[in-house]
């Protein structure tokens, strides 16, 4: 049974990647998960410098989901390389470093620094965090901006470059195309949906940051639709995510067009989810006589619409 896939020469043993911002720097989970058993670990978004993030409360639950406004608190790229990367390397994790900048030059600088670091396998470009004012999403919400940042990073690294797209745009497929045109090796989507919750008794927003990003099972159908749209727009591998809780959810994303997936919010709920997802995927492959998991990618059968004899 072959669950592996390859992104620009990087082979992942299976399609299950821990989502950035939901798994610390990976080392936090080393007690509960064999990090080398994962398809990859996308570490918490890193800037050049350390950041304190927003004041709490930083999360609030909503129906089948949650809002977060952490504000990209982080230890910065240098401390990451010194203090966290050695352990990730020792534990043989496939490390995808999520990078964030406020300017194009910062992305380029981060990519240069990380390309020289032993144990970094790919770069995920965070151009989609809804919770910080400066940079990041200003690239992700503009087609020229997306093209520019992907192109600039592409020039300075041999690592696979994976821009992470925001769903907070009208036509996500056009951003996928911009990323592919600029030389992206893959794309990941979706980041969280900009959202808000209010305490009606105090009339205050439930998050100090006022707005935050919605994640969890609540967003899954929208994320699946966006992966489907991107699959029809680009040839490069797609890493899909949004509320994955079960093996069936993984397969739904893959059939829609994802080559791999990331799991975020549901890892908070069940840190032992990884083994359960893998077992469920293997069961599915057995039941459907699949030897290679990648064979399901993009196989959604939409023929019913073409065959329909009444159409509007």
């Amino acid at each position: 049974m072959d669950l592996s896939l390859t992104i620009a020469g990087l082979t992942l043993p299976n399609p299950l990647i821990a989502a950035s911002g939901c798994f610390g720097y990976g080392v936090e989970y080393a007690d509960v998960v064999d990090l080398s058993s994962l398809g990859g670990v996308a570490v918490k978004g890193l800037f050049l410098a350390e950041r304190e993030g927003h004041a709490p409360p930083r999360i609030v639950e909503t129906p089948s989901g949650m809002l977060n406004a952490i504000g990209l608190q982080g230890i910065g790229v240098h401390r990451f390389i010194q203090e966290r990367l050695p352990e990730l390397r020792e534990r043989r994790a496939i490390v995808i470093v999520n990078i964030c900048g406020t300017t194009l030059d910062e992305y380029v600088e981060l990519a240069r620094i990380l390309s020289d670091a032993d144990g970094v396998h790919a770069l995920e470009l965070n151009i989609s965090c809804p919770n910080i004012k400066e940079g990041g999403i200003t690239f992700g919400c503009s087609l020229p901006g997306t093209h520019a940042v992907v192109g600039a990073v592409r020039k300075v690294t041999r690592l696979p470059v994976i821009p992470k797209l925001t769903p907070n745009v009208t036509d996500v497929a056009s951003f996928a195309r911009a990323a592919e045109d600029a030389g992206a090796d893959a794309i990941s989507l979706v980041n969280t949906f900009l959202a808000m919750a209010i305490d009606v008794h105090t009339r205050r927003p439930r998050l100090t940051n006022i707005v935050g990003g919605l994640s969890g099972p609540a967003i899954r159908p929208i994320a699946v639709r966006m992966v489907y749209e991107c699959r029809r727009a680009v040839k490069i591998p797609i890493i899909g995510m949004g509320g994955i809780a079960t093996a069936e959810d993984v397969l739904e994303f893959m059939i829609a067009g994802a080559n791999a997936v990331q799991v975020g919010t549901m890892n908070f709920v069940d840190p032992f989810i990884w083994g359960k997802l893998l077992a469920g995927i293997r069961d599915y492959m057995t039941r459907h006589g699949l030897a290679r998991l990648q064979d399901v990618v993009g196989t959604v059968d939409t023929s019913a619409r073409e065959k329909a004899w009444i159409s509007s």
């Binding site: 911002g21 939901c22 798994f23 610390g24 936090e28 989970y29 007690d31 509960v32 918490k44 304190e52 993030g53 004041a55 709490p56 409360p57 930083r58 999360i59 609030v60 639950e61 129906p63 089948s64 989901g65 949650m66 977060n68 952490i70 608190q73 100090t208 969890g216 099972p217 609540a218 809780a245 919010t265 890892n267 908070f268 709920v269 069940d270 840190p271 032992f272």
Partner: protein, 275 residues
Amino acid sequence: MPVDIDAAVIDNRRLSADYNVLSLAAPEIAAAARPGQFVMIKTSGGHDPLLRRPFSIFEILRDGATPIGVSIFNKRAGTGTTLLSRVEAGARLATLGPLGRPFEPVDPPAEGWMVAGGVGLAPFVTLAEALAARRTPTTLFYGARRAEELYCVELFEALGVRVILATEDGSRGVRGRITVPLEAALRERPLGNPVKLYVCGPTPMMRACAQLAATHGRACDVSLEQVMGCGLGGCYSCVVPARRADGGTPHHTRTCIDGPVFDAQRIVWDAVSGH
């Protein structure tokens, strides 16, 4: 190393309309737990509420000497705690733990003074047991709004803990907040007689206790509760502003893995959210 157990509810003991003690069959957690650690409990089988809730381990349940489970001291406040107030024996709850940095019990001749406000009683049974095992003289200062909201005092008395109570309406113990008898006791105790404070309760009470401890030159640990997403350090939701152990500028520190127990002097109390 935390484990996740599909724990059967052994018993749900109702203390009042708002409080209950829930006993869970979780031998591995009970065997590994240290005083002041917590568990993350999934309060429903589905996606609402989605996230687990953190609870201090209230008691280690034993069959003879064998640890068989843990209990939690639950106060009904929101959706999750309401579900846990109603849950019946035989139901199963995913329970992850033990988690967090524990209390460090002091040895004699130092005394251990535990200061609890309301539901903040939760982490102190396990600490009282650890202190009793070291023969450390121990006092519980326990405050609530009124007499009916003081629970489980007998658990502490059975461990030989001296208990000092306070109620805001004066219906039991000292009238006023728990800081009233605490301050008096701190003032009376000669500086040469060491004592360590362990505090858990509402943020204003913990802040006041931290100030008293500083004024009287006593060591003070607090157990903090913040909104938590994962309990394992992954999400960065539960941060509090704290100085590093060696001083320096305060930074956002995760309550789940750097706490929940902190040296009170590390915390920037004016910036702590919560109630």
